[in-house]
């Protein structure tokens, strides 16, 4: 009798189902298939993001000068497919260069060409020069050969620092305006208006319009000194043409590449969901088993505590502590988990009560089974699947709560979170400016991750709740 019991207990059956039956039950529904596919997508993207982003991405994100060449508030590049007014995208070129040194002066020359079919051309051009020694001075000259046969000389421009911003140079502005003035066109620019688009435009009666076609740009850098070793650097000159649209997901007010920002959110949200759910679940299982199994005063006390934890409002406490102690994301997750196990513990407790009532335990007791044996063979196999289910159901809540905190600019992390992207969108008025590319995707992704967890939960419901299995 005992032996037979033992066999049935240790045989791998959960809720009377073998693992293959469980997976069949899970995948039998469309939801199960969709949920697992989406979950795999989530995990794959998270792993991809982990490898695709540099390890110090957090520091990079928070360093504004890293993003200074990017346009601010630019929509994604692909909107050109849907609009008639084409906008120039961000372009970065590393033109081939030739370096010659003559009497202690180094000349670096290079040429590149671009096509300009855009109704709104580039707003600025940056020349980034690497490897110019700190103590030597340099000058830059450009010539732009335009599709109408004209050519526009720019420079020489004094070079200092690590790059030249053409739009902010009054010399450039004057040279461009005089180019047109010589052709009998006078143009007035607002003080802050960039002259750079005019490079790619023709003017008629004072009105600029796009000059379609191929542009060739010649660059000559004169360095008064030698640039010996670094001259072999193929990236000696980098030309960045600041666009009006940017990348896959556009940019925010600081020129952050939102695609990277969004990508960085994947592993974070996945971690938020999983870590908080695991902590929650472990506490819930321990408390549930203790109060369900020992009964008596232990149960009494634990039930009281559980009741309090269930009604405890975690969110305002999270706010106040995040404010008082400048909590990080992980502090907040930990605290949230510590306050969210109540509901699950209550369910596990009642399950254990039921299992204890069940006769086979009484039977097992009679033949002298030890408590740990009953726990391992009867109680755990029955509550494990349900616990896993609860684990999955508690993830979305954590994700949403932490995202809401991030949206209030609390519980920050070095990495940008989706909630935090939305905070900046809200606080800089992006939504009133209709910057959908900045405002819609982070929220969609938060919802996506939460919904994936919910779908997994729904698909596993028939496994843990046999009542739903019929039909």
């Amino acid at each position: 009798m005992t032996q037979k019991e033992e066999k049935r207990g240790s045989g791998f059956r959960i809720l009377g189902m073998s693992p293959s039956e469980i997976s069949r039950e899970f995948f039998s529904s469309g939801t199960g298939k969709v949920a697992s596919a989406l979950f795999i997508v989530l995990v794959v993207v998270s792993i991809y993001s982990y490898f695709a982003l540099p390890s110090n991405f957090g520091a990079i994100w928070n360093n504004p000068s890293y993003w200074k060449f990017n346009p601010d508030n630019a929509p994604p590049a692909w909107i050109n497919y849907f609009t008639s007014q084409k906008l120039a995208p961000q372009v970065t070129v590393h033109p081939l260069e030739s370096v010659t040194t003559y009497r202690g002066v180094t000349y670096i020359s290079s040429t590149f060409s671009v096509e300009n079919p855009y109704a709104v051309p580039w707003q600025d051009i940056y020349l980034v020069l690497n490897g110019i020694p700190k103590n030597s001075s340099a000058a830059v000259q450009l010539t732009i050969y335009r599709p109408d046969g004209s050519s526009m000389p720019i420079g020489p421009l004094q070079f200092s620092g690590s790059y030249i911003d053409l739009a902010s140079s009054s010399q450039v502005k004057n040279q461009i305006l005089s180019f047109f003035y010589d052709k009998g066109e006078s143009i007035t620019l607002a003080p802050t208006q960039s002259p750079i688009p005019l490079l790619f435009q023709a003017v008629k009666n004072g009105k600029p319009y796009t000059l379609d076609g191929n542009y060739t740009v010649k660059i000559l850098v004169t360095v008064f000194g030698s640039v010996a070793s670094s001259s072999k650097d193929p990236n000696f000159i980098t030309v960045i043409m600041r666009g009006n649209v940017y990348g896959l997901m556009g940019t925010d007010f600081e020129g952050h590449d939102l695609w990277e920002g969004l990508l960085a959110g994947f592993p974070i949200d996945l971690e938020i969901g999983i870590v908080s759910a695991v902590i929650t679940m472990v506490i819930a299982i321990v408390v549930g088993i203790m109060s369900g199994y020992f009964r008596g005063w232990i149960d009494e006390v634990l039930t009281r505590i559980t009741d309090i934890v269930i009604t405890m409002p975690a969110f305002p406490l999270l706010i106040v502590f995040s404010v008082l102690f400048a909590w990080s994301l992980w502090d907040a997750i930990l605290f949230l988990s510590i306050l969210s196990w109540g509901g699950a513990a209550r369910i596990i407790r009642s399950m254990i009560m039921q299992i204890r009532e069940a006769q086979y335990i009484e039977g097992a007791k009679i033949v002298g089974a030890r408590g740990s044996w009953i726990l391992r063979n009867h109680i755990l196999p029955q509550i494990m699947p349900y616990s896993l289910y609860l684990l999955v159901t508690s993830a979305p809540g954590a994700i949403l709560t932490i995202s809401a905190l991030n949206f209030l600019n609390l519980a920050g992390s070095a990495y940008p979170t989706w909630g935090n992207l939305l905070y900046w969108a809200d606080s800089t008025g992006a939504l009133y400016a209709g910057m959908w590319w900045w405002v819609i995707p982070p929220g969609l992704l938060i919802a996506f991750v939460a919904v994936v967890f919910i779908l997994v939960a729904i698909a596993s419901e028939p496994v843990v709740n046999p009542r739903l299995r019929y039909g």
Partner: protein, 329 residues
């Protein structure tokens, strides 16, 4: 005998599940005279409750097919409209005390509210009068009259069982289906309920279908006994015949397992398990567990291939004694 009150003619009731079609009742026929008590006996899961549900036409959502005929007072009630069945038969003629009738009461309504509903619906009785009748009926089942104002959670299991019985009798139905009315109760309460059922039958001239897995208990009440196995009827006859000379090996096994003392019994004596109702054994469904099949060579290739017909065996009681077993061919 006159015309039967109830004739169940070859009914089948199948459920569809993700694992396949469950043939919960697979071709069952029997009859019942007015005033007669039929005990429907069999192991757990053999389809007893399903028959009860078929009789009141309240099967589960996932039912896949119901066929056959159920003639009540000569009329096929399985094929009349839902509305007609509801207005003409439900509770008025056929009442039902469900299995685990602890759960047959709505927790948020008082006992009185639940008892008087049939009176109000079917007999158009006004509320106060109906309440008086409910109290009378409660008294008849041995409960205090003021229970009408109580809620179900304020009653004990035995009291709820009595309320369920009282509720079933409130319209004086022709037929009362009692689905294991005592299985969840302790021995003393069980005995009380059995006595109550006997008294009520006498007082109100009731016809019972008494569903149980306990043959000994059935013997107290039954005029005839129908034994079910895996969705089929294997033996049917007067109590006198069944108890004195059971014919089907399964019935014999059931009898053998009846201990002299009453109590919760399990049919652990019989080796093997109840077969799957999705893929039942071919031929006689009992053959995997049948001691005769195991010991007698000539039955091989017969019992496990061909379904045994119903065979009329000799009977002393009022009913024919039918048995479905190749031993008697």
């Amino acid at each position: 005998m006159g015309m039967a009150l109830l004739e169940v003619d070859n009914i089948h009731l199948y459920y569809s599940t993700s694992k396949g079609i469950v043939k919960a009742v697979d071709g069952v026929s029997f009859e019942l005279e007015e005033g007669e008590t039929l005990a429907l006996v069999g192991e757990s899961g053999c389809g007893k409750s399903t028959i009860a549900k078929a009789l009141i036409r309240l099967w589960e959502r996932n039912v896949s097919s119901v066929t056959g005929e159920i003639r009540f007072e000569g009329r096929d009630v399985l094929h009349i409209s839902d509305e007609e069945f509801r207005m003409q038969y439900r509770w008025k003629k056929i009442a039902w005390v469900p299995q685990a009738s602890m759960n047959s009461l709505n927790p948020v309504l008082t006992i009185g509210e639940q008892m008087i509903e049939p009176l109000v619906i079917h007999h158009d009785v006004d509320k106060d009068k109906a309440l008086m009748q409910a109290m009378d009926m409660l008294e008849a089942v041995g409960l205090p009259r003021d229970i009408v104002r109580r809620y179900p959670h304020q009653l004990s299991g035995g009291m709820k069982q009595r309320v369920a019985i009282a509720m079933a009798l409130i319209l004086m139905p022709k037929l009362v289906i009692l689905d294991e009315p005592t299985s969840a109760l302790d021995v003393i309460t069980q005995a009380n309920i059995m006595n109550l059922l006997k008294r009520l039958r006498r007082e109100f001239k009731l016809t019972y279908i008494f569903i149980t897995h306990d043959l000994a208990l059935a013997s107290e009440l039954a005029d005839s006994v129908a034994v079910m196995y895996a969705g089929k009827l294997v033996e049917w006859g007067s109590s006198d015949d069944i108890y004195v000379s059971p014919k089907h090996p399964y019935t014999v096994g059931l009898m053998g397992s009846v201990p002299t003392l009453r109590g919760e019994k399990k049919l652990t004596f019989m080796p093997g398990e109840v077969p799957s109702l999705i893929n039942p054994p071919t031929g006689c469904r009992f053959y995997p567990r049948c001691p005769y099949f195991a010991s007698r060579g000539e039955l091989k290739g017969l019992c496990d291939r061909d379904e045994p017909p119903y065979i009329d065996v000799e009977h002393k009681g009022a009913r024919r004694h039918l048995v479905s077993c190749w031993l008697y061919k």
